[in-house]
Symmetry: C2
Subunit: 591 residues, 2 copies
């Protein structure tokens, strides 16, 4: 125990009568009837210390100087509390420690916010005083869980023969993908390293090197404009194997996540994770990462309404689009016209030009568009949408992608709003059969949907150049409760296939060789079939810890403008430093 | 086993009669008497595959196309080898696999060097084709050991309640210490992040945050000119604790290293590690990281020779210097005058102006300077240096630091040359009682011997400003076989002491606040006493694996000019990338 008898939160009635040494922080001091009571806190919890003139007048006198967050060393005897003063909410609530000696190890100014789980101070203040924020028990518990998650993963992968190998942070910039963070070289004027967006190339080279089973809990970097759930540096559980099939990699990942759930949450996830093709997920949930903890699935009504008198529906279908709806069960009474106007505005963000609605009453579907549907159509709608009286039906008619995005987002919003989601559930889901490529209309070219090293489905290989849009990838994403935990794929391991892929992505032969020549060459020296997966650790911890802010899972995170409010990074550097790096600034320093 | 029955190196006689599927690389193919023999290799070892026309003419015919490093899938039956063909050097040497089906998974060009432990190809070629270099079994074994070392450390620290917490890679530049790698910010024009030289500040802030026990296997960065045993990015085992004494931290570290030695090397290191003060180490070994696997200690003869007729000795002592010697036991006959001239040149690199010598014969000490020593002095030399006939005595007379450096280096050189070092020994040693500060004559200022956060010895605190050179640090280094494994210290945890330290280092109050204001402020909110240690993982693995090249312990290392010969990093970036970072180059691109 290194200089103390117990952690504060672990002094229980079994220690009654013992002389103990405790160290920690003052959570609270109360003076009562000539005694002083101090709640002493460390990372394990609280224990009550009593200063009594009959035990030690010296300790009592010193205790008068003690304020909140002072650091104390207390020696005393563990005493059972009287029946009436037992605190059932506290693990140490049946005892108290009668102080015989007190040392004030360090003092504390008044903290800018109270050290407690519940706080309404702004996040900026929490980040500036992160060292105080981390004292809040809920924060420590999150990082303890993060530790437990990585421990479970490491133990599992070690047991399966995976080696933890570190890959470089100072690597080469590759224009494909997100924007790189660059590091100027002092030794090579005008040249730069890049921080890795993932260890992708290196893990593949390790497979060429015969390592067969590699993992790393790897730091990755992306210099992108940040959204709420993005950080400039993030951590991924990075796994690569040789000679394994897609099924085997998915099975291994399932076992790993089952161990995490068991070790960290005490939850048995014994069943294989359900699987869904990308097409099915988009069709049923309007999302490639569906939250399957509740229903309210998207129902395709194009066939039903294509000849209806409602021109918006009919023309959407005629133009190759879709009409889909969700049934918000029993919600007809909860949503006024004004509320529905709000929902219409919500879906407009996703490109939907309108949101049609019907309410189901005992005698049929009512609403402004009900008049357009004949008896037969009404019956079909009722049947396909499984309608009961009191339901609210919401329709979007548009091109396929807009319908999916708009209704997918609306479904999620309503699911949360109506509290349809069972927060105790952990719904894992595999999404498979991804498209290999995405066409970008603006850039007029294809991009890799995952990355340029993803293996096309064997049966689609011949279509790679003739019909790229139709080619499926041997790729798989793991989804948990509507969040993408991560994804993986089998990789191309043959030079000619990789060259074809680069060509489809618009690389000339020369460009491909200049950027990835070493990889193409490596493929010629006996490269095994290989593949892997990468899971986002920050997000995984966020979901398991029941947090909603990614920054709460990172000890020293950055703000949306990629600043560290604690150390004030980034910052200015000296002219001498820039000179050594052969750089000059294009802006005035006082800009 | 995921698609195979066994790893190649693990098919033993217990599998005789089994139908197996094996996958791996062709180490060697031999054609003999109508049969083809292939040694199939994976990361576990080799197994012999036999292609026989009586078993499968198809497989035999395909095997004719097979070349070294092809990737194969072989199905066949495990057969006992006949008595005469058993290979005792191979774990699988009692069996062979008679191939029934062969699939060539991938082909291979002729590799630029043979995949074997012994190689005389240049390191540059090995680094360019690192993916082939990693196939050499000795390389895989090193990375397997590295994995085992980190696993043992993680398991130990987990058991002691230490949390694995990640600290930022994008941090703030601090001018104190080595040169930082900088990362320009796109969002904050003219500002830069720095890559951390260590997580020092963050681990201390976690202690302020009440985490109490933290560790991380942390990547660190230094943009320094590289020596053979330095890399621009390296990995340290980074540990910090609160409320522990120096003794407790050292004890914990010993237990951790004992577990590493047991788990990884099967060696029981049950005794506590010996300890030596910095002064004693310098005095006895001329080194702050002595290799104690052999003797040949430095003996101070200043008192004995200060009045001798040999003016070089007498004046060295008179000028405040020292005369010290080492006794190279039994080596008199091995070293000619010319050899000793070579040694003299060797010590001159360390500033020694000469190397005096004597050889011990049956009738006394002989050599050019023997005439200067009377009978009494000769007897004293013989006694103090424990001389026997045949010994070679080597003397350096100079100021203290030169004597230590020159004789310390000479001792090591001779110890290796004469094979005095028992390579099976693992001699751990603590060096304690370090000076807190070092005076740099050129810069005319003090620098922190460890870093500016090291706690001075309590009893020396009052001398911090009046006599800085005499102040000892509460610091400790762990040495293994003459290499510094790492070091640690108790940290300053009081604002006034830290401010005094910055002042001694030449910071104005304003500079201290500008650079470390957040830390000084943190100390005012109830900071616990804390301390820790950081051990170099790359070097630890190098020593445990018996390697001599640090780069062999890093999967994708950099050269002495900080280049990656495989991916060709660093490299040029586009003007557009520089524009986004508000930078321009001060050199022409074709320079």
């Amino acid at each position: 125990m290194f200089g103390r008898s117990y952690f504060c939160g672990e002094v229980t009635e079994e220690a009654i009568g013992e002389k103990v040494t405790l160290k920690g922080w003052v959570q609270k001091r109360r003076d009562l009837g000539g005694l002083i009571f101090i709640d002493l806190r460390d990372r394990t919890g609280l224990v009550q210390i009593v200063f009594n003139p009959d035990v030690s007048p010296e300790a009592l006198s010193l205790a008068e100087k003690v304020r909140t967050e002072y650091v104390l060393d207390v020696k005393g005897t563990v005493i059972a509390r009287s029946e009436g003063s037992i605190n059932g909410n506290l693990k140490t609530g049946k005892i108290e420690v009668h102080a015989e000696e007190l040392t004030i190890i360090n003092e504390a100014k008044t903290t800018p916010f109270v050290i407690a789980d519940k706080t309404d101070v702004s996040e900026d203040v929490r980040l500036k005083y992160r060292y105080l924020d981390l004292r809040r028990p809920v924060m420590f518990e999150t990082f303890k869980m993060r530790h437990q998650v990585t421990k479970a993963i490491r133990d599992f992968l070690d047991g399966e023969g995976f080696l933890d190998v570190e890959t470089p942070i100072l690597t080469k910039s590759t224009p494909e993908g997100a924007r790189d963070y660059l590091v100027p070289s002092r030794v090579h004027p005008g040249e730069f390293y890049a921080l890795p967006q993932s260890p992708q190339i290196f893990k593949q080279l390790m497979m060429v090197g015969g390592f067969e089973r590699y993992y790393q809990i790897a730091r990755c970097f992306r210099d992108e404009d940040l959204r709420a759930d993005r950080q400039p540096e993030f951590t991924q559980i990075d796994i690569e194997t040789s000679f394994m099939s897609q099924e085997e990699i998915m099975g291994l990942t399932e076992q790993m996540m089952q161990k995490v759930m068991k070790d960290v949450k005490g939850v048995d996830v014994t069943e294989a994770f359900p699987r869904m093709s990308y097409d099915e997920a988009m069709s049923r949930f309007g999302s490639d990462k569906p939250d399957t903890r509740f229903g309210m699935e998207l129902v395709d009504l194009s066939e039903t309404v294509k000849d209806s008198g409602f021109k918006v529906f009919a023309s959407a279908v005629a133009n190759g689009g879709q009409v889909k709806a969700i049934n918000v069960k029993g919600a007809a009474a909860n949503y006024s016209r004004k509320d529905i106007d709000g929902l219409t505005e919500f879906v407009s963000v996703y490109g939907a030009k309108g949101l049609a609605w019907l309410k189901a009453e005992e005698d049929g579907l009512k609403g402004p568009i009900s008049k357009f549907f004949g008896e037969e159509e009404q019956a079909a709608l009722q049947s396909k949408l499984d309608v009961s009286a009191g339901d609210l039906l919401l329709f979007v008619a548009d091109k396929k992608s807009v319908v999916a995005d708009a209704l997918g987002a609306l479904r999620l919003k309503l699911g949360k709003e109506l509290e349809l989601i069972d927060q105790s559930k952990f719904n894992f889901l595999w999404i498979t059969d991804w498209p290999l490529l995405e066409f970008d209309e603006e850039a007029d070219r294809y991009y890799a949907a995952h990355h340029p090293f993803t293996m096309p489905a064997r049966e689609d290989l011949s279509k790679l150049e003739s019909d790229p849009a139709s080619v499926k990838a041997q790729a798989y994403d793991l989804v948990l409760n509507g969040y993408e935990l991560g994804g993986g794929s089998l990789r191309i391991f043959e030079r000619d296939v990789q060259e074809k892929m680069f060509s489809v992505l618009g690389f000339t032969k020369e460009q491909a060789v200049e950027q990835f020549g070493f990889l193409l060459e490596a493929f010629e020296y006996g490269t095994p079939p290989h593949g892997g997966i990468a899971l986002g650790l920050d997000r995984m911890v966020m979901l398991l810890a029941g947090r909603t802010n990614l920054r709460d899972t990172i000890a020293f995170p950055k703000t949306a403008s990629a600043s560290d409010l604690l150390t004030d990074a980034p910052g200015e550097v000296s002219e001498a430093q820039l000179d050594e790096l052969h750089l000059s600034l294009k802006i005035k320093k006082d800009q």
